[in-house]
Symmetry: C3
Subunit: 142 residues, 3 copies
Amino acid sequence: MKISARNTFEGTITKLTDGAVNAEVELTTAGGDKIVAIVTEGSVKSLGLAVGKKAVAFAKAPWVTLMTGEPTIRFSTRNQLSGTVKKVIKGAINTEVALELPGGTTVNAVITNEAATDLGLKEGLKAQALIKASHIILGVPA
Amino acid sequence: MKISARNTFEGTITKLTDGAVNAEVELTTAGGDKIVAIVTEGSVKSLGLAVGKKAVAFAKAPWVTLMTGEPTIRFSTRNQLSGTVKKVIKGAINTEVALELPGGTTVNAVITNEAATDLGLKEGLKAQALIKASHIILGVPA
Amino acid sequence: MKISARNTFEGTITKLTDGAVNAEVELTTAGGDKIVAIVTEGSVKSLGLAVGKKAVAFAKAPWVTLMTGEPTIRFSTRNQLSGTVKKVIKGAINTEVALELPGGTTVNAVITNEAATDLGLKEGLKAQALIKASHIILGVPA
């Protein structure tokens, strides 16, 4: 199986909060990174999601927002991952950016060229990746 | 009226589950495809959403994740649509992919070139489109 | 601090509806524009979100859907912003569009070239930007 989503986090479910329609699921990777996902209760049931179960979190590159510099704002995004820029590829409209996290995981983002220039993105720069919990897709071994 | 979202599914609301903030709405197309959307309760009221009402579901191409090969993972995405690749257009950073569903509907995805190569996407290949319910926009006739 | 999200709305929280997992937050800008965001209750607590507090809403350009012409459909998207096309930049796959709102705010969207042609987007045309509340990132001063 191959998937087009460029961001994959493998881990174990460490927290699960139920709601009427949605549930919040926290995944902890082997390296200790935490990823929070919002999925429907329908998915919780059909996938048998529960604390202690292995799961994989996926996010597409355009769903990742990047930030550089000293944070003057605190964000609502449950997933805020600090890393170092490893690769910057510029296209006609969009730029693809690879960010390496301390634990070795790579986060891939697609942002506009304007944003890439604005943030001064280049190899070696510190940056933060923001991913909304409602943008995370969860998977469990079939 | 013209809309930039490249994915449109016309159908009838066949299920509606209310929550405190969000509601889950299931739409069934004439061809029998089912699309699940998460919208706010504010939208349920303002649009008068109810079982039996006609509605249209929209999703932008970058919100669609593609998968190929035998599924080794089960996903939380409520919308998982199997089809056949009809068109692959490669740009500098992104590739646009058109997937034809058995009922004749076309699903359009924009993925990174890296992902397109990784999945080996080409005309005639079987693939699956994953769309999160929270990414679906619902509409009703004005 | 610099952020890659191309859409920023500064304002004051004017409404907050709590749920079990998610909360709906309405922000009103100085110019009177209203932006509705869905964030987790975890974020409401950690950011101290409350009516009367200053906040900033962010959205990435690919999360914005554009519409032109007389609306024949009413949409579930809580954020529907009418404006005038100011800039259209075409790439290999995607087109970047800047929309100016009456209050002076600019909304940036990235859509496929196919969609841009379909909508007949060009400078001076009236268009509407649709942004799902669940796609909005909220921030508060650090």
